[in-house]
């Protein structure tokens, strides 16, 4: 008859083969995680600083005549993987925003009849006039692209956060 509880005979624990972690080792691991967290913060800060250096290039995005009132057009600015949305709200009003929703990055679409931008992923809505959040989960307004009209051409010349 066994001296200990019966389950110990049924499910013996092989202590010698177990990879034990001491409290000291666990605490040291937490310190490594702390250092990694600081490194990640430093990396993001450095990347943001590098991103904000220097003016963005000017890029022709459309001809005025090619964009009817109430329509929109997708273009990439300032790099190829940054989709933006150019909108003609009325005859003389053009606005452009980043097409990435500030919630989880889904592409937003323009709804001319409501004068708003709609993110279909989680029902986020932005005002087409200034990009502010109207409803839904997005935490920030859409980044706005600064436009300049040069005759009958529209140029993107900068980006506001």
């Amino acid at each position: 008859m066994a001296e200990g509880p019966a389950w110990k005979d049924d499910f013996p624990i092989a202590w010698a083969e177990d990879d034990l972690v001491t409290r000291r080792e666990f605490t040291k691991t937490l310190v490594w995680v702390s250092c990694a967290s600081f490194a990640a913060s430093t990396f993001l800060t450095a990347r943001a600083a590098a991103r904000s250096e220097g003016p963005l290039p000017a890029l022709k995005v459309a001809d005025v005549d090619d964009l009817p009132v109430g329509s929109s057009r997708v273009f990439a600015y300032p790099v190829a993987d940054e989709p933006c949305l150019l909108i003609r709200r009325d005859a003389d009003t053009f606005v452009a925003y980043s097409q990435r929703c500030t919630h989880l990055g889904c592409p937003v679409v323009y709804e001319a009849e409501e004068s708003r931008l709609h993110c279909p992923c989680h029902e986020g809505f932005f005002d087409a006039a200034d990009g502010r959040v109207l409803a839904g989960p997005p935490p920030r307004p859409l980044p706005r692209i600064t436009l300049e009209r040069r005759g009958q051409e529209l140029w993107a010349i900068g980006r506001e956060a």
Binding site: S37, F38, S41
Partner: protein, 73 residues
């Protein structure tokens, strides 16, 4: 001082130090994760001030955690 203590008391004292350091480092790490979310928010929103202050705070937390771990080496 601890060298003069009886062995069981000495072990208990050591365990208390390890638990105190473990709890403190865990608390520091919790604060650091909050700061990391602030850094990510600042990065996505383009807020340089938030980025810098949160990163500095994270650095202070990491230094504090490193200083605490020296007590259990």
């Amino acid at each position: 001082m601890t060298g003069t203590l009886p062995a069981p008391v000495h072990r208990r004292h050591q365990a208390t130090v390890v638990y105190a350091v473990l709890g403190s480092v865990a608390l520091v790490l919790l604060v650091q994760w909050v700061l990391l979310t602030a850094v990510i928010e600042g990065y996505l929103a383009g807020r340089q001030d938030l980025l810098v202050f949160s990163t500095l705070g994270s650095g202070v937390c990491a230094a504090l955690a490193y200083r605490l771990i020296r007590h259990v080496r």
